[in-house]
């Protein structure tokens, strides 16, 4: 592994990490009445094959759990970026994602290299396009990256965190960089 090289892990969810658990129904209808508002929403409609696998609350919970577990495994992490496209109108963001060392941003993968270029190290970026409502585009992909680890021990600890996370059994089309982890648990291709 090159010194300071990022560790990245990505894949596509083929099932929910919350299998068997109950989640409260939380979606609502938009407050619309004018024909023009129906036209606007109708234009959002797309045929998307990726199913909705989790609720908004569950996605926030997944991100919060991943951010928290990463920090516990790798105390050297200085900042975790998570993707939040816009605040949900019906579901509050959990407090764990509003901590001083967690930053919700539109595009974690775009911001992380800029922070590294500015001299920061041990930045984690959690990016995803997990669908929680039919309005949302996406393919249920998720990626976690540790940018500029300050040492091999930090990179190794991050890989250990990834192995222990709930993601590997749920993911397909997995990609790991550096590709020096042949023992990493992988989900069978469907």
């Amino acid at each position: 592994m090159l010194p300071g090289a990022p560790v990245t892990y990505s894949g596509r969810l083929q099932r929910s990490p919350f299998v068997g658990s109950l989640c409260a129904a939380e979606l609502i209808a938009p407050p619309i009445a004018l024909p023009s508002e129906y036209v606007t929403l109708r234009r959002c409609e797309r045929h998307i094959s990726a199913p909705v696998l989790m609720s908004l609350t569950q996605r926030y919970r997944l991100l919060a759990d991943l951010a928290g577990a990463a920090k516990r495994h790798v105390p050297a992490i200085s900042l975790t970026l998570v993707r939040v496209a816009s605040p949900s109108y019906s579901v509050p963001m959990p407090a764990e994602l509003l901590q001083p060392d967690v930053l919700p941003v539109l595009d974690p993968d775009a911001l992380a290299p800029r922070l590294v270029a500015a001299g920061r190290s041990n930045i984690v970026a959690i990016a995803d396009d997990i669908r929680c409502d039919s309005y949302e585009l996406g393919a249920n992909r998720i990626s976690l990256a540790l940018h500029r680890p300050s040492g091999d021990d930090v990179a190794a600890a991050f890989l250990a965190f990834l192995r222990s996370s709930p993601l590997p059994p749920c993911l397909t089309e997995v990609d790991i960089m550096p590709d020096a982890t042949p023992d990493f648990p992988r989900s069978p291709t469907p």
Binding site: S16, S21, L22, C23, A24, A25, E45, Y135
Partner: protein, 366 residues
């Protein structure tokens, strides 16, 4: 269940998707989902990738739930369609299923040039298609008789509005008794209507009326597929389903509030009942066959065995609020959960907000 607030419904999207796939295969036609049977939008979005043939909507509230959330065809079908719903449906490029001549006139009075492609179907009263099979038992007020149907076709043709389809539905639980007659008589009806239209009809929706305990291995389905095969040569045959799709995908859960004895009967008072799961009380049936629930023990300790009958009652002041019974067994305790499966359809069908009771929560199985 410990963390779930009761009373509640628990829906399982995997069961609904599997049921949809099996029923669609059993009918061998496109299958439209009747949202009125389960308007839980959380359940809908989990199933939306599978519900590709269309969704039937009976109100503006239902349209609001799905607009933007599915690219599948939308069918707005209600005798109560007013101008606001019609305009919203046109803006949504839904197919309007017109129930009566007043709706026809309402449509032709609008400037619909912006609503292209305009999709219109006409609803036919089932008794007008298969009078003998429908009989008095299934007589209803939906759709038009043949005379009004032809007038509607004429008026829409004069207004340059293309009629693309017909819709006929004999009502709940009529698949066994009426579907064959509808299929057999539809061919002549289509020919008759097409004489009043500039273009052939593209589709006919034969409804469904399939019971919640349907079985795809029933010979009825094989016979029915043979009957509709002749129709499928000339146009697309569709069906719609609500009860048969959703029933098995939902469970009603209510928690025990009190247990008492009245003479030889045990009475288990629950925090939900008729006000939440109206169908369990079977108020519309002359002969009630109350459901036997599954008991889920919460907390330690053994439960008392009894051979006396146990009645499960809801939390309203209505004497009809009896939702289940057992002929003896383990007597639940306060805090235990009582589960009724097969409650995934028409869970929002409730007579009133009597007593302003806390509404049932809804959960999904992940």
């Amino acid at each position: 269940m410990a963390q779930a607030a009761t009373p509640c419904f628990i829906f399982d999207p995997a069961v609904v998707i599997s049921t949809y796939s099996r029923l669609r295969a059993a009918l061998a036609t496109p299958l439209i989902v009747s949202l009125k049977a389960n308007p839980s939008i959380d359940l809908f979005v989990r199933c939306a990738h599978a519900f590709t043939d269309g969704v039937e909507l009976a109100s503006q509230g239902e349209l609001d739930l799905v607009i933007g959330r599915t690219a599948a065809p939308k069918f707005v079908n209600t005798p109560g369609m007013d101008l606001a719903l019609m305009k919203a449906a046109l803006a949504s490029r839904a197919t309007l299923v017109l129930d009566n001549l007043d709706q026809v006139d309402m449509l032709t009075s609008l400037d619909v040039r912006a609503a292209t492609p305009l999709r219109v179907a006409l609803r036919v009263n089932a008794a007008s298609v298969a009078e003998a099979a429908i009989g008095r038992a299934h007589l209803d007020h939906f759709g038009m008789d043949v005379e009004a149907l032809l007038l509607a076709a004429d008026r829409l043709t004069r207004a340059a509005v293309e009629v693309r389809g017909l819709h006929v539905f004999a009502g709940s639980y009529t698949f066994e008794s009426c579907s064959s007659a509808l299929a057999d008589n539809a061919d002549a009806l289509i020919t008759h209507v097409e004489q009043h239209l500039p273009k052939p009809i593209e589709f006919i929706n034969l409804g469904g009326g399939i019971a919640d305990d349907w079985d795809e291995s029933s010979p009825k389905f094989a016979d029915y597929r043979r009957r509709i095969a002749r129709l499928q040569v000339r146009l697309t045959v569709m069906h719609e389903s609500g009860r048969a799709l959703f029933s098995r995908g939902g469970t009603f859960a209510t928690r025990v509030l009190a247990v008492k004895k009245l003479d030889r009967r045990h009475i288990v008072v629950c925090d939900g009942g008729l006000a939440h799961c109206f169908m369990l009380a079977q108020t519309e049936k002359v002969l009630k066959r109350l459901r036997q629930p599954v008991l889920l023990q919460e907390g330690e300790g053994s439960r008392l065995a009894t051979d006396a009958p146990i009645s499960f009652v809801g939390n309203s002041c209505n004497r009809a609020d009896v939702i289940g019974e057992m002929r003896g067994g383990m007597l639940p305790r306060i805090g235990d959960v009582v589960l009724f499966d097969g409650c995934g359809a028409y869970h929002t069908y409730s007579p009133t907000n009597f007593l302003s009771l806390k509404p049932a929560q809804c959960y999904l199985v992940s």
